[in-house]
């Protein structure tokens, strides 16, 4: 009994742990009025000095968006979003183009330092190239020179539109067309910036590429778009992180990530998502509606998604792989943690089209507080995908008796040579494990941290080193001791 009480206390302490990235930086921003119409889209496009075809693309997307309805199939509950009450463009005012970090607004640099993403330090010490996106605009990309020696293009999306229009035109919307879904259509109409990366034939990107997203201004939505192309034989490992200030209103984030992997190439995409999740009463937080999809276009190509989802009031996200090339491989490793009143409906789609395609899905859901955490995934083996192989494992851990853990796998098989396996378990931390740790002198809080980390290890191991450390800390902050 005593122990239970003790555990209860720990839950309270831990679940009341504050979001430490919730500060707001007062930097001058330029914004459009609230609301969305063709003029706003025209404004964004003009602001970015975009070619005619891109404006056309945006308008087509917008007109399509008007004809469709917000999806309601996910196990998510939120008040209706008023799309006319959102500012669709907000950018830190930049007086001139920047050549070095010294010229970046010191307030802005300070922001990134607070986030632990010191652009400067990153550049010097870790050798990770960072593209930082604040509100809607990319503010600084580091290491561009080093990368360009290898022929790698890594820049903001707007720069790519100006400098490499042929590549953008060729690949934009190829994997996620604007007709794909409601949020993809919205993003295609209003996306303001994002990252663009192109790995040329046979090039192995020597450093990790990283994008850091931050929503800063109030009442804004963030709509960024990432396009990543690995040409034949290319390799890249790409990281993505995100935070937002603490506000009482909900803010919308609707991003698109498109990956194209040509023959023999490999793309590893890792995300640590830590948008503001709302306070412990469920007030505020980011609505995160993201479409992420990779196309294994060529023979032997491979796309691997790793995600650690700890933030956002609402997460609606299904990083997927279309395995079109023969022998291509898709992977999805996910740890999704929800606490307080967070809701997550996340998973993946593995579409097997080529023969001898393989996919692996490892999903670890952890729910605490009053949160709901769902895995929703599709594995489709099409008629021509001979010898396709899928293995899925979706485990859920429940910490506390007020939360929910759900699993919704869809398996659609149309080929007799396919082998598809799905396994899932749901349980709480076993008392035996806890007792075993405790009788070794580990207090219950640490023991739970240890067990949860062990539980998520399979996924955390897939993260690049720098991120793995951050993710582990994040897990500890979000969950330590949340067991009743």
């Amino acid at each position: 009994m005593n122990e239970e009480k003790n555990n209860g206390k720990i839950i309270e302490e831990v679940t009341s742990g504050e979001y430490k990235y919730g500060f707001f930086t007062d930097i001058e921003t330029e914004t459009t009025p609230k609301g969305l119409n063709e003029d706003i889209i025209g404004f964004i496009s003009k602001k970015k000095n975009e070619p005619e075809w891109l404006l056309e693309y945006r308008l087509k997307a917008y007109r399509h968006w008007l004809t469709i309805e917000e999806p309601d199939w996910a196990l998510l509950n939120h008040p209706p979003i008023d799309y006319q009450d959102i500012i669709y463009y907000a950018a830190p005012v930049q007086k001139k183009t920047l050549d070095s970090l010294n010229e970046v607004d010191p307030e802005l640099l300070d922001t990134f330092n607070k986030l632990g993403i010191s652009l400067d330090e990153q550049k010097m010490l870790t050798g990770v190239a960072v593209d930082a996106i604040i509100d809607s605009v990319s503010v600084k990309t580091t290491f561009q020179d080093t990368l360009s020696k290898h022929g790698i293009i890594f820049c903001s999306f707007s720069e790519a539109v100006q400098n490499h229009p042929e590549l953008v035109k060729k690949y934009l919307g190829k994997v996620v067309p604007y007709t794909d879904n409601y949020f993809a259509a919205l993003n295609s109409a209003v996306f303001s910036d994002g990252s663009f990366c192109y790995i040329p034939k046979g090039v192995r990107c020597p450093i990790e590429l990283s994008t850091y997203f931050r929503i800063n201004a109030a009442n804004t939505g963030q709509f960024e778009r990432t396009l990543l192309v690995a040409d034949e034989g290319g390799y890249v490992s790409y990281l993505e992180g995100c935070t937002a200030p603490q506000r009482d209103e909900n803010q919308l984030h609707a991003a698109i990530v498109e990956i194209i992997a040509h023959a023999n190439s490999e793309v590893k995409y890792s995300t640590v998502q830590n948008w503001y999740p709302g306070d412990k009463n469920g007030k505020g937080g980011i609505y995160n509606f993201v479409t992420k999809r990779g196309l294994c276009e060529g023979y032997n190509s491979k796309i691997s998604w790793t995600q650690v989802e700890t933030g956002s009031a609402i997460t609606w996200k299904y990083p997927s792989c279309i395995l079109r090339g023969d022998n291509s491989i898709g992977e999805f490793y996910s740890v999704a943690v929800t606490n307080n009143y967070q809701q997550a409906d996340t998973g993946t789609k593995m579409i097997h089209i080529g023969s001898n395609t393989k996919s692996t899905i490892i999903s670890k859901g952890i729910s605490a507080g009053y949160s709901n955490n769902s895995y929703r995934g599709l594995v489709r083996i099409s008629k021509k995908a001979d010898n396709a192989r899928n293995f899925s494992q979706c485990d859920s851990l429940l910490l506390g008796d007020k939360c929910g853990a759900h699993t919704f796998p869809y398996i659609k098989t149309n080929n007799s040579s396919a082998i598809v396996e799905h396994e899932a378990t749901t349980s709480k931390i076993s008392e035996d494990q806890l007792f075993y740790c405790q009788q070794r002198g580990i207090d219950s809080e640490k023991a739970i941290g240890l067990i949860v980390n062990g539980y998520a290890k399979e996924v955390l191991n897939k993260l690049p080193m720098e991120f793995a450390v951050e993710a582990q800390k994040l897990l500890a902050i979000t969950l330590e001791g949340s067991v009743g």
Binding site: C403, I411, T413, A418, I419, E421, H422, T425, K428
Partner: protein, 472 residues
């Protein structure tokens, strides 16, 4: 009754017309609850309409073509002129049952009295007659758990059902002999049949119930059956559903079960043949210690389609459930499995398991498997697994190198694959005949039986595999 924006399908119009033509007549049922159910269900039907593939639960089962057809609704009550055995023979050796039958949606019996009390105390008869004989039971149970608003077919069924079977096992009555219901269709034109069954098991009672759906001729029929089952404390029900219809038939079978504490339910669904078969089970464990075991096999070929939807709701703590569905799909057959385990907030100490395994024989065959879990309690053990694959190549090789022909070896392995489900059948003679049917079905010998599914089996002459034992 205003028409909505979208045009009604011919079948929807027939249903509405049929209700309007009859609601002062035969549907002016004597029991107020039944009348009330019909009246509110038709309004619901107008709103929700027949299910289309744009609703999540019907995404993989498309009935739209059928809605375009003209159906004969609510056939006249057939005059009893032949004994059931003349139309239909069912004489599995050693399998002694109390046989009751439904013909074209009507309770079919020689006796003018439509409610009978069997020797062991089980009360059985027509649900129409039960309204007069047991008004208090109808008030208490009828339409309590079946929710017509689930989808349009159930709403239509509630509004225009013709008849159905009523079974009441009073408290402490243990049935000695299995009850067998044979639901037959014999009509020369397209016919839609809506039947509604009610099964009530009192405290400490038990029953074995075998429900067979068979067609006698080769005409298309659209059968919608809705069964409500109530299990009192410590009650025990074994329910077997045998489905062997012609390839032009459509069967939408919904079973709603509510289980009080420590009751035990065992369901075995054996699908051998049928055009489109949809089985829905909604099982709600409301009393502590209740146990549900739902299993099924489907062995389909040609263009047949089977859709099993199993919702298992754990509303009370300390309940256990087990779902196991296995299927072999040949030619252009398709199957859907959607298992759903729902564990309510305070249903602690729940144990729930779910498994679906499939073998695809051709690239034309298709399986959609959706094993879902929705869990709101933390002290639970729930797991689910789904597999799609082929026969184990090593096992096949092992058998073949013992001199067994490839086709026989495959047959043996497929047979072994489904015995995990058929092995759960508790009635020995039934198990023997089902085993036999499985073998025949896997060989392709059994498509639609000319008579009863059980009749086709002659346990005296067991089916032999063509195995030369001397070589083993």
């Amino acid at each position: 009754m205003g028409l909505s924006k979208n045009k009604y399908f011919p079948l929807e119009l027939s249903i509405l017309k049929h209700y309007n033509d009859n609601h002062n007549g035969i549907y002016n049922s004597c029991h107020p609850k039944v009348k009330e159910t019909r009246d509110s269900a038709i309004v619901q039907f107008e709103n929700i309409r027949l299910p289309l593939t744009n609703s999540e639960k019907w995404r993989s089962t498309n009935l739209q073509d059928l809605y375009e057809l003209e159906y004969l609704m609510g056939d006249e009550k057939p005059v009893f002129d032949k004994h059931i055995n003349e139309i239909f023979q069912c004489n599995v050796r050693g399998f002694d049952t109390n046989v009751f039958s439904m013909l074209n949606g009507w309770y079919y019996n020689s006796n003018t009295q439509q409610i009978h009390t069997l020797d062991d105390g089980v009360i059985i008869g027509s649900i129409l007659a039960a309204q007069k004989a047991f008004p208090e039971l109808i008030s208490k149970y009828f339409n309590e758990i079946a929710s017509p608003s689930t989808h349009g077919l159930l709403a239509a069924n509630a509004a225009v059902f013709t008849d159905g079977i009523f079974i009441y096992v009073p408290d402490n009555v243990e049935s000695k002999k299995a009850v067998q219901l044979i639901n037959m269709v014999n009509r020369d034109s397209n016919i839609m049949i809506n039947s509604r069954n009610l099964v009530i098991l009192g405290q400490n009672s038990s029953l074995s119930f075998l429900h067979c759906d068979d067609s006698i001729n080769q005409h298309p029929a659209f059968l919608v059956t809705n069964t409500e089952v109530f299990l009192g404390e410590n009650a025990k029900l074994d329910l077997y559903k045998l489905q062997n219809l012609n390839n032009w038939s459509t069967l939408a079978n919904s079973t709603f079960v509510q289980q009080e504490s420590n009751s035990k339910l065992k369901i075995n669904v054996l699908t051998f043949n049928g055009g489109i078969i949809r089985n829905e089970f909604n099982i709600d464990l409301i009393g502590e210690g209740a146990d549900a075991d739902v299993s099924g096999i489907y062995l389909m070929d040609k263009k047949q389609h089977v859709d099993n939807q199993v919702m298992l709701k754990h509303s009370a703590p300390n309940c256990t459930s087990n779902e196991m569905f296995k299927g072999v799909l040949d030619e252009s057959a398709s199957a859907v499995f959607n298992g759903y385990i729902y564990v309510a907030r305070d249903a602690q100490k729940t144990l729930a398991f779910q498994k679906n395994a499939n073998i695809l024989m051709t690239n034309e065959a298709r399986i959609d498997s959706m094993p879902f879990l929705e869990i709101y309690a933390d002290d639970v053990k729930c797991s689910h697994g789904a597999t799609v694959g082929q026969l184990d190549k090593d096992a096949l090789f092992y058998l073949m190198q013992r001199g067994i022909s490839e086709s026989d070896a495959k047959l043996l392995l497929m047979y072994a694959f489904v015995t995990e489900v058929t092995g759960k059948i508790m009635i020995e003679p039934l198990k023997v005949s089902i085993d036999d049917m499985v073998k025949k079905r896997l060989r392709g010998d059994l498509s639609i039986c000319d008579k009863c599914v059980l009749h086709c089996s002659t346990p005296d002459i067991p089916i032999e595999f063509e195995i030369d034992l001397s070589k083993i």
